[in-house]
Structures are given as structure tokens and as C-alpha cells.
């Protein structure tokens, strides 16, 4: 039942700026994902993303080097305000984007109706973890690939693969903020802006860092203190889901949702390939080109080594990760915390 139209082991890499895109292409990415400078993508951060002319040039550069470009148009348009998403899709199609990553059924329906030949990938933001959900998107909108939520074990992915008519893409490295993907409203609750509709998780304009004379660091989002770190502790991203909080049963403060930790599936790559995972995704469009260069070149080598039957570890990437801790998350066990 499964459809495989491309070679297995595709490395899908992040690019927040044109310079990062060229860095990812040069470092060996098979595909690069990126977004426009507006609310149509889930990394709508200040100074990040692409203008229309930048995207056009980026697509040309990537295609000259045999690399695909995937447009992240993976936020949910508020009712009656879909024109921005339609414009993004139309522009991307004109530029020859290789696939559009969507979460919203309205956006997916628009692509199917107006650009029936355009390849569609289902974003992790759609939060589709079951055969029934994935088949719905494939049958109704012609989705060719699903980016799975990070809540499934490898046996579950293997079982899923048998019954769905599309490719599977999995996150293998980077930020490990699961929550209910595409459903998180914590930023909305605190700041009034929506991660899922405005594309901003913890908008920088609401983030404050305060360091005292002893180098104790307090991170805040809006009116809420997220965490406090002593001078010897490593802070994480200023997101509500990675904060430490006091509760009646935990008066000392604890990670109520997730911990500052990063995903690293280097050791599970062979099993993921056996399970039928087609493409491997690196998180981090908000990161610098130094990060992109190091991470993409390391994973390029790792995937090539695994395809050649060798073991890989990639422990050296720990220095780039949030919290300087890594996990295999639900891919290894449902009890990852």
C-alpha cells in the first residue's frame, strides 16, 4: 500500500535565511524547508525567513545543486483571513517549489483545487498520528508525505507504514517540544499571540532575560517567570513548555510539561529506515548558519554511513543542543521522562 517515489534516506534541513539555505545546500541537504516573512509559517520570528525575491533566488540556487525546496505554509489561517496563505501558495507554485508543507485543511484544499499537480506534505502541526487521520489527508487532498508527531514508537511507525498510502518523514534532531503538536495554546494564553495562527512560539518581544550580579539568570515571558538558573546551570529556550513551576505537590519547582532537552536519533537511524521512514528532518529554522553547517554536514555523513551499514553516534552535536542534554524521546519509549 505504501508509496515510495524517491530514494529512502532523504535529509531535510532547516533554513531561516537565504545564507542558511545556501549553507544547508552546500553541506549536503537533500531538501531544505523554509518559509515566507509572515504568519503563514510556524517560525514567524523577527529578522527571519524569506521575501519573495529571496525565495525565488533560493529555489534557483538549490535546484542548480540538486536540492529540493519545501515551503512551510504550516500555520492555521484564522476564519476569513486565508488570502495570505493563498498568496503564499500561488507564489511558491510559480517559483517551482518542490512541495508545500501544510497543516490546515483549507490551505490543503486550496492547493488541491487550484494547483492539482503541486506536491503536498502534511506538517507535524497537523498532529496526525493514526492511520485514519493520515488516510483522510491523503485521500481528500492528495498528501504525498506525512511528518509524524514525535509521540510514536518505532514499532508503531512500522505498523502505521503498512496501512498508509504516503511517505513518512520523522524529526531526528533538534528541539524536543512535543506538547500536542499544532494544538499548543500556551503562548496564546500568555501573550495573546498564537503559535498556530500567528506562527510565533514565545515571541521575542515578550521575552525578558534578567541576570543579577551573581550571574543568576531569570527568563520571563510576558508577566510569567519561566525559569531561574544559577551561574552554573544551562538555560533553555524561553518557552512555557520548558519552564519550571511550583505546584502544591512540588513546592521546589519542577518541569511541569517538558524539559530543556534535544532529540538525537543517530543510534536509531537503522531501525527507522527498516520501519519505512523515508525522510529525516532536522529542526532549527531559528538557528544560525554555523549550526546549520555543523548539524547538516554531520547528519549527511551519518545517513551515508548508515546506508553503508556502519554505526553512528553523533555525540559531538551535544554542545549545540538546548540544555546540553539529549533524548530519543517516544521513538525509544513512551516513558521518555
Amino acid at each position: 500500500m505504501a508509496e515510495n517515489t524517491e530514494p529512502v534516506g532523504e535529509l531535510v534541513c532547516p533554513a531561516g535565511t537565504p545564507a542558511s539555505l545556501r549553507t544547508a545546500v552546500d553541506a549536503g541537504a537533500d531538501a531544505v524547508y523554509c518559509g515566507f516573512q509572515n504568519a503563514t509559517n510556524a517560525r514567524n520570528f523577527p529578522g527571519l525567513n524569506f521575501t519573495l525575491p529571496e525565495m525565488k533566488k533560493a529555489v534557483a540556487y538549490a535546484h542548480e545543486h540538486g536540492t529540493k525546496v519545501l515551503l512551510a505554509a504550516n500555520t492555521f489561517p484564522p476564519a476569513g483571513k486565508i488570502q495570505l496563505w493563498k498568496d503564499a501558495v500561488d507564489s511558491a507554485v510559480r517559483m517551482g517549489i518542490d512541495a508545500i508543507i501544510v497543516a490546515d485543511i483549507g490551505v490543503a484544499g486550496y492547493i488541491k483545487k487550484n494547483h492539482p499537480d503541486q506536491r503536498i506534505h502534511l506538517s507535524v502541526q497537523a498532529g496526525a498520528p493514526s492511520v485514519e487521520a493520515i488516510k483522510y489527508y491523503c485521500e481528500e487532498f492528495g498528501v504525498r508525505r506525512v511528518v509524524l508527531p514525535r509521540i510514536l514508537t518505532i514499532p508503531e511507525i512500522k505498523s502505521l507504514k503498512k496501512d498508509i498510502p504516503c511517505e513518512i518523514e520523522c524529526f531526528i534532531f533538534g528541539n524536543h517540544g512535543l506538547m500536542a503538536e499544532g494544538r499548543c495554546s500556551l503562548t496564546n494564553y500568555v501573550t495573546g499571540l498564537s503559535t498556530n495562527m500567528d506562527g510565533v512560539c514565545s515571541p521575542a518581544g515578550d521575552v525578558k532575560y534578567e541576570e543579577d550580579a551573581q550571574r543568576n539568570l531569570t527568563t520571563k515571558l510576558g508577566a510569567f517567570t519561566i525559569d531561574c538558573f544559577s551561574c552554573t546551570q544551562n538555560p533553555g529556550y524561553p518557552t512555557i513548555c520548558k519552564g519550571r513551576y511550583r505546584a502544591p505537590h512540588r513546592p521546589d519547582g519542577y518541569y511541569a510539561f517538558e524539559e530543556p532537552i534535544s532529540l538525537n536519533l543517530a543510534r536509531l537511524l537503522p531501525e527507522l529506515i527498516k520501519a519505512g521512514v523515508h525522510a529525516f528532518k532536522i529542526e532549527g529554522r531559528q538557528r544560525s548558519r554555523a549550526y546549520v553547517r555543523e548539524v547538516v554536514s554531520s547528519w549527511r555523513k551519518a545517513i551515508d554511513d548508515v546506508m553503508a551499514g556502519q554505526d553512528v553516534e553523533l555525540a559531538h552535536l551535544l554542545s549545540l543542543t538546548e540544555g546540553h542534554k539529549q533524548t530519543q524521546g517516544a521513538y525509544e519509549t513512551k516513558r521518555w521522562r
Binding site: 523577527p46 529578522g47 521575542a204 541576570e211 550571574r215 533553555g236 544560525s288 543542543t321
Partner: protein
């Protein structure tokens, strides 16, 4: 508006003090500011001329004043990244102006960030980079600088010809040595 905070000394900084050639500090410390300002003016205007795209990404934050604070040098630098009234000036720490945002780290850490060799988020995770004030403005400036192809450090070194290029080569060697030990 915010005022620059007191310096700090991380392990990296102590290490860098060990490796940064004392000669550089000895040369820089007594230099009067009036002698430095024209050099900084030349550097920032040269970058602006060569890399105009930088300002598009800074967008609404171009009129803000950023304190770039290499904590192990005797000066800090105030940058206003507006192409129409661009300014980049050095200040003794006791005289730094009020700024909207401060970005602090050791000299070579900041140099490597500008050079596209180190990741700002990773430096923040290890406390090697300190950000204070308007976080959105800092993120914008960081992303704008990171989108510049090539190296601002090399552009600056080239302004000073053979001597500048050799100085950069030495600084990079020192940095690489420091990172390995």
C-alpha cells in the same frame, strides 16, 4: 531604555584571558577613544556600503541603540544600525550610554559569532553570551548579521590591508586554540 550591567567572568572568559595575547590588551588599553572613533566609523560605513541587505532584516529596530560589549576588552561599542544615521562608537565602561539592548561576551566569542563560526543559541545555552534589554531587537540584529554571506570580520580586516588580515589570522588561531583546551 536600560543601562549596561556589571561585567562578568565566565570560565570561557578566564580561559580566553589566558590565551588572548597580552600584547593586544596592552596596545588597546591606553589608546584614546578619539583615535578609535574614526576607525569604527570607517568599518561600519564600509560594511553598510558592501552589505546593504543587512538593514532590511533589522527593519523596525534600526533606530535602536545596541551595546556590543566584549567583556574582556577595555571598551564597549554602541551601534545604531540605521543606514541613514549609522553610528558605531566606542565607550569606556564607566561612560556607556543608555541603550535598548546589550549583547555581551568575550571579544573572540563575539568575533566568531559575527564571523558565522559560532551559533548564538548554543552560546546562550552555555552562558557564554548574555542578552539584556529588548530581546526582539537583539534577535533581529542577530538574524540580520547571520544572513550576511562571507565574513564581516574578513571585510573589516581587509580594510587594514596586510596588517589587518594577519591580525585576524592570529585572532582566529588564538580562538581555535582556546576552544580546544
Amino acid at each position: 531604555m536600560m543601562t549596561a550591567q556589571a561585567d562578568y567572568r565566565s570560565e570561557t572568559e578566564k580561559q580566553e584571558y589566558r590565551y588572548l595575547p597580552r600584547l593586544l590588551r596592552l596596545i588597546i588599553a591606553p589608546v584614546p577613544l578619539f583615535a578609535i572613533q574614526p576607525v569604527l566609523h570607517k568599518i561600519v560605513h564600509q560594511i553598510a556600503q558592501k552589505r546593504p541587505e543587512l538593514f532590511d532584516r533589522i527593519g523596525p529596530h534600526k533606530d535602536k541603540l545596541f551595546l556590543i560589549d566584549p567583556v574582556n576588552l577595555p571598551f564597549a561599542f554602541a551601534l545604531r544600525p540605521n543606514p541613514d544615521r549609522l553610528s558605531f562608537r566606542a565607550y569606556r565602561r564607566r561612560n556607556v550610554p543608555q541603550v535598548e539592548a546589550r549583547i555581551a561576551g568575550t571579544f573572540l566569542t563575539l568575533l566568531d559569532m559575527v564571523d558565522g563560526q559560532l551559533d548564538g543559541d548554543a552560546l546562550f545555552f552555555t552562558r557564554e553570551l548574555v542578552v539584556e534589554g529588548d530581546t526582539e531587537a537583539v534577535v533581529c540584529l542577530r538574524n540580520a548579521i547571520d544572513d550576511i554571506e562571507g565574513s564581516i570580520a574578513e571585510d573589516t580586516a581587509n580594510l587594514f590591508g596586510f596588517a589587518g588580515r594577519n591580525a585576524l589570522k592570529v585572532l582566529r588561531k588564538v580562538r581555535n586554540h582556546g576552544r580546544k583546551h
